[in-house]
């Protein structure tokens, strides 16, 4: 019920702001100023424990460190475990706070390297956008799949095809949905360049990779059969 309302609000916002004037740039400008605080910059790969935790009592990690906007920066430290680092910034969670989410702005080649990194795991990538009604509707399912199956070795990655300028809004949406898996935002923004770079035409698109890193299934458009998606994931998880 709650998420439906959210979905509606999230959907209405871009509609309302683009609708009247027809200058999409206005949309970005307006949004930029509205929520400047929620972007968590650095946490690229949350440590496994954090990834598995249910999303209720997670500490908020307001990142003060400079956000990793550039692709190259984000991939310098292959050897280290970047996810451990934000632990230093953890604050006691006294208030009822949303779970910490992280978004990295990323390009096509860098995302390929991310996928490579997860070889050996079953990986589900959800390509979505806040302006995409069916995506917003499906998103809770993605979160649920992660919550239910992460422990069994499922890696869930979110790739938003919103404008990079709208990162705060995307972060807000992700936090509200408890999307504590690694999240990315296409550096190319909304448009065919993103579609080209990530090999995605229709949103939402789910891409499912087996442990060998092979793309085994792709689901896209409104009306994806999530029960079938779940079955496919479970099937892959059962394979060694």
């Amino acid at each position: 019920m709650y998420w439906r309302l959210l979905a509606l609000v999230c959907l209405m916002f871009p509609l309302a702001s683009v609708g009247g004037c027809g200058h999409p740039s206005d949309y970005a400008d307006k949004q930029q100023s509205s929520l400047p605080c929620c972007a968590g910059g650095g946490l690229r790969f949350p440590p496994a424990e954090q990834q598995r935790a249910p999303f209720g009592p997670l500490p908020a990690t307001e990142q003060t460190a400079s956000s990793r906007q550039s692709e190259s920066q984000g991939h310098q430290s292959e050897g280290q475990q970047p996810g451990v680092q934000p632990a230093e910034n953890q604050q006691p969670n006294t208030l009822k706070q949303k779970p910490a989410v992280d978004i990295e702005i990323i390009g096509g080649p860098a995302f390929k390297r991310v996928l490579k990194k997860y070889e050996g795991k079953v990986v589900l990538v959800d390509y979505w956008a806040t302006w995409c009604g069916p995506c917003v509707e499906m998103f809770p399912k993605t979160v649920e799949l992660h919550r239910r199956l992460a422990e069994r070795g499922l890696v869930v990655l979110g790739v938003s095809m919103d404008d990079p300028d709208d990162k705060p809004q995307v972060a807000e949406f992700l936090a509200q949905h408890g999307a504590i898996f690694p999240n990315y935002l296409s550096r190319y923004g909304v448009g065919a360049e993103s579609a080209e770079a990530f090999g995605v035409g229709v949103l939402p698109t789910y891409k499912l990779y087996d442990r060998a890193g092979q793309l085994v299934k792709e689901y896209s458009g409104a009306g994806i059969d999530t029960a079938e998606l779940a079955r496919e994931i479970e099937k892959l998880l059962e394979q060694p």
């Binding site: 995409c132 923004g189 909304v190 448009g191 065919a192 360049e193 035409g201 229709v202």
Partner: protein, 199 residues
Amino acid sequence: MAKKLLVLGLLAGVAMFVACRAEAAKLNIGDPAPTFSDLIGVDDKKHSLSDYKDAKIIVLIFTCNHCPVAVAYEDRIIALQNDYKDKGVQVIAVNVNNIPADRLDKMKIRAQEKGFNFPYLYDESQKIGHDYGAEVTPHVFVLDQQRKIAYIGSIDDSQNVQKVKTHYLRDALDALLEGKQPPKTVTRHFGCSIKYEKK
């Protein structure tokens, strides 16, 4: 027994062929453009592809009202029609979504608000969408003078006007008008998925 197997095998073959054909409903460059007729427009008139036989090139754009991406491209489509009108290019916009926000009454309002300078048609049956394999709004199909498919894909590479680097559609039109092959005949389509009804 052997005969039965043969028949079964043949049947399976036919079934597979049919299945493959059904899968490959997508158009390719050079394919004859699927025709359409008697689609109602926001002007309450019926429109057929044959009505536009004088146009050198037809730009068929699947679009709709509710989709932010489609909305973001409205001004660009209007400008395109303005810029290419005298060159014999005719834009035809089609909506096949049946959700309330996209139905004909809403289309009329939108067309008037924006001052669409091209026909905006509605296909409740969604047939034209299936025929072209349109998946998103906006999704562009350019029909050359022989009414063959000459370009499929996006209008340009970014929804954000300021971030556009390549104007795929304009580049394709410029090339076609000079009798050349578009630099890119197929680009990734991107937008809101068209809401096809399950049959």
